[in-house]
Amino acid sequence: MKSAALQSSVINDLVLLSCVGLRPVLVHGGGPEINSWLLRLGHEPQFHNGLRVTDALTMEVVEMVLVGKVNKSLVSLINSAGGTAVGLCGKDARLLTARPTPDAAALGFVGEVARVDPGILRPILADGHIPVIASVAADENGQSYNVNADTAAGEIAAAMGAEKLILLTDVAGILEDRNDPDSLVKEIDISGIRKMVMEKKVAGGMIPKVNCCVRSLAQGVRTASIIDGRVPHSLLLEILTDEGAGTMITG
């Protein structure tokens, strides 16, 4: 999320939901921040098939920026909005254990989620706090890995038996017809969305998000939504209204 005003608005919505009794868990990435710090160090950000090429230096920067800067600034915003946040990354309490992706030769330290141990989240949620999780994790030997935030969110949702997974993006959702912005698909089931992907109706950048949603749904999460983070209060609209604010995929 690039604009500060938008971030603030989403955080306020999150705190509101927490106040009315929902137990939200926030998982974040931070691509633009990482890019800007890499450039400050004179290192050009590189991508391969949409994933960040993460060599040793990039991994250090990713960890510092996501866990140290982005995570704490979100925690701070939640605290200012009236909630109480606890910032974690995958390494804390072995929340996420990573393993290298099959594509490690080209991508470096990009990790897939091998195991989730959601134990630490239960006392945090039970005490009324909001966990904020940075998608950095370590493998069995302590080597840091950069995990895709959507993937981390999907697997944590599956581990917690979450009711809803929500992916905030900067597009309106999934369109039935790419050229018609009014053709937003409001609700679709797993077989329907797989059909759309096969029919090439789902744009390239959206496919990993759809796969993440389906993976999560297959593990028992009730619904997974891809919503437009640019719309004010999209989070509230999605959770508290029938129309929602994007595309909801049901199990």
């Binding site: 797993i190 749904l217 593990q219």
Partner: protein, 152 residues
Amino acid sequence: MNIPFCYLTLESVKVEYTPDAEFYKIEAIVRPWRVHHVSSGLLQMGIRGVTVSDVRGFGAQGGSTERHGGSEFSEDKFIAKVKMEIVVCKDQVEAVVEKIIEEARTGEIGDGKIFLIPVSDVIRVRTGERGEKAERMSGGRADMMSLTASID
């Protein structure tokens, strides 16, 4: 749908099972949270007798791992599943199998398997009825199918 009754009988005879029996038990191992989808789907098509049990199992898929609760499970780790057992007469088997697959499938590894087992006889405990009379449930699929046929 306006299908003449003679076509219905023809379609229901096409599948051959060995060994041949009048009734078959359909044993489906599915994901626990899909049970509700499957049982409502079955009720909709008139299957009114189902038994479920909680089981654990593993079933290797040649190197690819199954994900359960966010974690990957290697081939020797047991994962919780539910076994659904349904006994129907031979001509209903295909429809039930198709419905189970439709409702239980997610496309990810771990969706489960279905086994068909021939059953020699079905006996109703309350009345002692055997055979087709015992297997048939009032308001069930056999009644639904004869209703559609008689409307033509």
